[in-house]
Amino acid sequence: MNTLQIGHLPGIDLAEVRWQDLPGLALPESHRLQVPVLSPEQLQALCTHLRGPGREALRALPVREIVQAIDATIHVLLDPSSEAHQTLLDWLPRVTGFSPEMVRVNLNATLRTYRAPQLQRFVSEDLGGPEMLDGFAPRVTGGLTHAEGAALLTHVWAGNVPGLPLWSLVSGLLVKAGNLGKVSAGEPVLANVFAQTLARHAPVLGQACAVLWWDRQDSATAQSVWAASDTVIAFGGDTALAELQRQMPPGVRFLPHGHKISFGAVGREALSATRAPRMAQRAAEDVVRHEQQGCYSPQVFYVERGGATSPQEFAERLAAALQQLDSRFARPQPGLAESAQIAQWRSRLEWDPQVHMIGQAEHGWSVAFHAQPLALAPGPLHRCVQVVALDALEDLPTWLAPRRRQLQSAGLAVAPERLQPLALQLASCGVTRVCALGQMPLPAPGWHNDGRPSLLDLVNLVDLEASTEALAEGLSRYEV
């Protein structure tokens, strides 16, 4: 029996901890995942440790050392010979349903965005550098400001896209917060392996973060965690987030990240005979990477008329590229309910005389071509995409407007002179990230997820006003 215990619990006597199987996960009989069941006292002790000694030791480190420690940990996770790397490759396909090949390719790409140079940029991006985190930094207008991380930052992770938890956990460590992460049953592994590797190679950081799981119904645990938290960052569907919002005690900063929808847009200039195949290949890669499960994954491609390749030809090229990728990265078998959803989605489109459906249901992908414009709408994922012909990409706002609140990434393939005007139009529609077609599931390090700052939301900016300095001057020993 291959058992993995999901739980990193600094400050708790592990000999006293009871474990149970993580419910709701279909694993082969040879594998089991266990999660800790903490008593109210243990949970209290954990929160006290994270807020107290755990965080205080982290707070004493300069950002530079924290960055080095995370970098070293990422290095271990990337090292094919390390035990941590092996654990990830063994377990991630089992829990997420992604193919081992897909996990291997994506894991490395994801982890590489957390190396030292990227982390330094992360800090500079939001705070101009580490000075504000390490102490008070002078302001241009006088006085000083310090960025004080939350004493306890709680993360509620959702979904099965590996890497999502790392983004918020690393942010929490950079701002020197105490971190408590609740993993999702869909992907409980990566955050746990990261925290344990951190503890081994950088004990101070390991003492400042905990990873655990509790049942959604377990309101007692949830309530004590919220009560101990300064800030709660949560990922999930609208219903789950609304429920969390209701549970938050007054004064807790709640940072919800809901489910999002993303799309690609291909300009006519990208549709020449030589360019179109490459664009279709990029679009297919965006679809296949993470199996469209990510908020940044495309569900619709808007393709402009007037290029050498017509939108319908582009759709057929996309289908061909998906077929080709299928041989290397076969689509994981969707569950029964998901298969039923794909079948319903396909049949609904097949009955629409405006739609040309490419590919059969038993193929590992579906491309639906629409000759008429269509509002952005989500599909059943699992490599089901729609290609929509548009006379001009500048018409996009009309078709994006209904999804304003849920928009996230736009993957663009357009000429340089169109790029900024179009991006500005998209920004006004609610798009929060514009990237190259082919890069949609690979957000740049330090990206502003859902348009929010990565670090600024996690700190209090503490002002030390000039008047304090002035008054202090008059109160020194040597003042006469």
């Binding site: 999930g236 219903t239 999002k260 929808i261 908020c295 998901e338 298969s339 959803q341 249901a361 989500p378």
Partner: protein, 356 residues
């Protein structure tokens, strides 16, 4: 075209004591050819899958129409303005409703009568209907079904226990007391959610609702989001406890607006019960992407072939998950619980958001 000859063939088929595989297959293929010829939308659907009377040799290969086809398409061999009755699916007013057109109800009625009499009882019985009358809901197949049951098998004092607010609890209490006084067994029939509403409404009062010995209950349709969802085990335990009716006499009918026949279990002593089809109906559990049957004993999406569906399509892909056995099928639940696994907005969230 609903030819009198085809109708007669179906009425004769339903009247037979049983049908073997060959007889079922012959009639199924005949209906398939008829429907492809007279139903343009279905013809296109089948040809896109390369299925025609020339290539389909057994009923299992008849293409199954997903239930949403009844919303998106007009699935009728007879022009709909010549159809005597249309049954529509339940749903909120904002939703598009599925429509099932019937040129006349001869076959529908024969199907209902034969299988009801075979599976439900004892009959005749004093009946209480926890559902509106057919006059109030002319497009409800369930209202029509209950009307037939009442008409054919209802003893005096049979009635609808329903008012504008839903189940008429005051009328029900009086009706139950009358039955108790008379010492006369009775039957309560209605939507599953109506039984839940009733039990919830009377929970505080705790009146004596125990029905006389020999009574039975029939529920159908599940909760449909109209009442709180109760696990099947708890539902039948509470039902049996409330009305003092043994669980072997708590019968569940499985029916769909998109079908013209029903399934029944032999009580719900244990759940999930086995639902039995009449001899003019077959059920398979399939992989919805390939349409192929799953191995015996494995859960799949249920596909029903109902020969009484002569004017629409015989074969329907449901959204229900079930296991098919020799005796019938076990319903495991709806396949609608598919949640996005990641943080990508998916169809279901969208539907929920649109309804919110």
């Amino acid at each position: 075209m609903a030819t009198p000859e085809l109708t007669q063939t179906l009425l004769d088929f339903i009247a037979q004591p049983h049908a073997d595989e060959a007889m079922f297959n012959t009639l199924a293929l005949r209906l398939f050819a008829h429907q492809m010829q007279h139903n343009a939308a279905y013809g296109r659907f089948c040809r896109a899958r390369g299925r025609t009377p020339a290539t389909v040799r057994q009923w299992q290969d008849i293409p199954a129409v997903p239930v949403n086809g009844f919303k998106e398409l007009t699935l009728s061999c007879v022009p709909v303005d010549q159809c005597e009755r249309v049954f529509t699916t339940s749903g909120t007013t904002r939703e598009v409703k599925g429509q099932h057109h019937h040129p006349d109800l001869q076959v529908w009625n024969a199907s209902m009568r034969r299988h009801f009499a075979d599976c439900v009882g004892p009959l005749p019985m004093r009946m209480g209907m926890l559902f509106p009358t057919e006059a109030d809901m002319p497009n409800s197949s369930l209202a029509h079904y209950l009307q037939l049951a009442l008409q054919d098998h209802g003893l005096p004092r049979s009635t609808h226990l329903w008012n504008a607010q839903g189940v008429d609890s005051a009328a029900l209490l009086a009706w139950v007391q009358q039955a108790q006084t008379d010492g006369q067994p009775v039957a309560l029939l209605g939507a599953t959610y109506s039984f839940v509403h009733l039990m919830d409404a009377l929970a505080a009062q705790q009146p004596d609702l125990h029905l006389p010995v020999g009574s039975w209950l029939l529920d159908t349709g599940g909760f449909k989001g109209r009442s709180r969802e109760i696990p099947m085990e708890a539902f039948y335990a509470q039902l049996s406890h409330t009305f003092g009716v043994p669980r072997t006499r708590c019968i569940n009918m499985y029916g769909m607006t998109e079908l013209s026949s029903q399934f029944y279990d032999a009580g719900n002593a244990s759940v999930p019960s086995i639902k039995r089809a009449p001899h003019w109906m077959r059920t398979r559990a399939v992989d919805p992407l390939t349409g192929q049957s799953v191995p015996p004993g494995q859960p799949g999406i249920l596909v029903h072939t109902d020969l009484a569906n002569h004017n629409s399509v015989t074969t329907i892909l449901t959204e229900d998950v079930g296991i098919v056995t020799e005796a019938g099928f076990q319903l495991l639940g709806r396949a609608e619980g598919a949640q996005a696994k990641g943080c990508s907005l998916a169809v279901e969230d969208f539907v929920q958001a649109a309804q919110a």
